[in-house]
Symmetry: C3
Subunit: 131 residues, 3 copies
Amino acid sequence: MDQLSVKTGKRQELMDITEETQQYISNNGYDHGIITIYCPHTTAALTINEGADPSVGRDILVSLEKLIPHRGDYRHTEGNSDAHIKTSLVGPSVQVIVEEGRLMLGTWQKIFFAEFDGPRTRKVWIKWIEG
Amino acid sequence: MDQLSVKTGKRQELMDITEETQQYISNNGYDHGIITIYCPHTTAALTINEGADPSVGRDILVSLEKLIPHRGDYRHTEGNSDAHIKTSLVGPSVQVIVEEGRLMLGTWQKIFFAEFDGPRTRKVWIKWIEG
Amino acid sequence: MDQLSVKTGKRQELMDITEETQQYISNNGYDHGIITIYCPHTTAALTINEGADPSVGRDILVSLEKLIPHRGDYRHTEGNSDAHIKTSLVGPSVQVIVEEGRLMLGTWQKIFFAEFDGPRTRKVWIKWIEG
């Protein structure tokens, strides 16, 4: 297992970590298998979506915010219940196929770290399974 | 890695791809392991849910539509922001255990390709990990 | 593949299954790899979130209930459409990295069985992949 570091700059943000992930695979000489990218935090998640137009990420965050507002009927007293809820909806990890040393992503796909309670310095764990 | 083709017929649709997935496993003589089924598109996802009553799929799509309407306060100008958002909520892949050459699904479970911006011809990527 | 049994006590509930999962890994002497925890039901899911403050789980369930109410414009006649929809949003499985025989969870993370249509006796399937 290895660890990447992600420094987010806003309370909510989708950060593209595709390059770092590909770099990690290339540096280790991994060839064929599956890479699991895992978020060890409870107010941030991982997702795969369009990376070409930043409006897509903006639309995702604004829509989630409308459905699960920052301030609401919450009992958790740390003021970040919305971030916990979004985390369970988006999910803690993504799995991406690797062939001939390349992340197999669709034409428009990028891997995003989804920050819901930043800005913070965050960790991402990466695990390689050959196959 | 291999590829299945899925032809969707509506803008939004849950297409049962369980049979094709099982066929793929059988054709390859796979025995014990995990199969990852991955959607390389950014306006479609994969999910597992009840397959016996088609009303379940209808209820899923109608509810998602209510929460994330086709037309809304979106900046992405292609008119399919709702599809991108739903994709991040439902998720880009599913993992299913395989034992003795059979997909280990619960009694009512089927694997669905979730189309959110069709109709289109779509790809699904499949990766086998033995274990 | 192995099976855990989970007995839920309410219609909706997040049950912490971290201990049982760690016990399973320890009993089998598993060392390095990935564990897939899979829910074979269509009205329950798996998620990872904060386990220290039970209010987080309560906030997740109450917010989901607000978005996808128990009674609504549903066609599925069993009265549990909301549970099916929540299941597709939260997801059927989680993958957790294992290092030196320990589940690699973040400081605040616990693994939860998310019951959306209980109380019932439920099954959880576990699959180990070494790597």
